[in-house]
């Protein structure tokens, strides 16, 4: 079963997302990273096991859009589905995210309901399992 990589600088937000995944009945292991640079490290050693990336935008060191732009350029990880989970909810930000990562599969604006996140990630997890 593929793992889910949650990239968010807030440990509380990472815990909440992890809990939503568990409550939805998905048994996928969750990997965590606090910013884009950490996420690159995690992907570097686990890229074959990761089946979904959930990524925040505003983070220190390397933000979410810089990270997903980098992911899109590396063949080995470019096909991993990515969902942005962020407070950055303007149309400009949404267009920017889709422009840097053509394989972006969803854009969830915080605050979000558990149901909304479940609806978006469920088909992505089923297709990678």
């Amino acid at each position: 079963m593929k793992k889910i990589l949650v990239v968010d600088d807030s440990s509380v937000q990472r815990k909440m997302i992890h809990q939503i995944i568990k409550q939805a009945g998905f048994e996928n292991d969750v990997l965590e990273a606090g910013n884009g640079e950490d996420a690159i490290q995690v992907l570097g050693t686990n890229f074959k096991e990761v089946g979904l990336i959930l990524c925040d935008w505003h983070m220190p060191e390397m933000n979410g859009v810089e990270f997903i732009a980098g992911v899109a350029k590396v063949q080995a990880v470019a096909e991993i589905p990515v969902v942005m989970v962020t407070t950055a909810g303007t149309e400009e930000k949404l267009k920017q995210a889709y422009s840097v990562h053509p394989n972006l599969k969803g854009y969830v604006v915080k605050p979000f309901t558990s149901e909304k996140l479940r609806t978006i990630i469920a088909p992505l997890l089923e297709s990678t399992s």
Partner: protein
Amino acid sequence: MAELKRVGPSLQKSALIASVKSIVTTTCHEKLSCEPALKTGHIKWNDKHKMIIRSKDRGFEGPSVVSAIGLFLSDKHVTKGLPCGAVVLFSDEYYVRKLMSSSGLLGGDVSDPGVIVDFCSELCNMITGGLINRIVIEGYQEILMTAPITNREEIPDGIAFNPDYTEYIEFVFSLWDKHVFTIVLTLSAIFSKEYP
């Protein structure tokens, strides 16, 4: 042409209140007891010309957590240290724990002091993000927000604000008929969207 334009007080108020309500209901499954009490005032600053941030000045006598985010027009303004505003969240620690429990997503971690600080940071982050999203919809350009600075009781260094604009709006929010958090918002003129 884009121009610097004041965000009217009614838009500032409605955008911030809508952002808070959305988080309280969506993330925490709770409801405000009533509409927030509002008042305006002038910023008090320290010797470094930063806004003084102390929860006891906002009516919190017990344990509290304070989180502050700076607002900037652009990366250039961030580099120069010239903010266009700030959002400060003052929270009663006991009731924030209750709010965290209501989310049902943090399990037994609600008593962990580190988790409370992180939760207040995230709360301030989501409130500010929601505020900006709503202002942009009303015809303004997006403004940048810094990562939250969060601490217990006060932020000793204070937070920078636009020295040419010293007004703020204070919002006092209640849940369970108790004063749970207060938000202070100061926002000077920001760029309107460019139209041909």
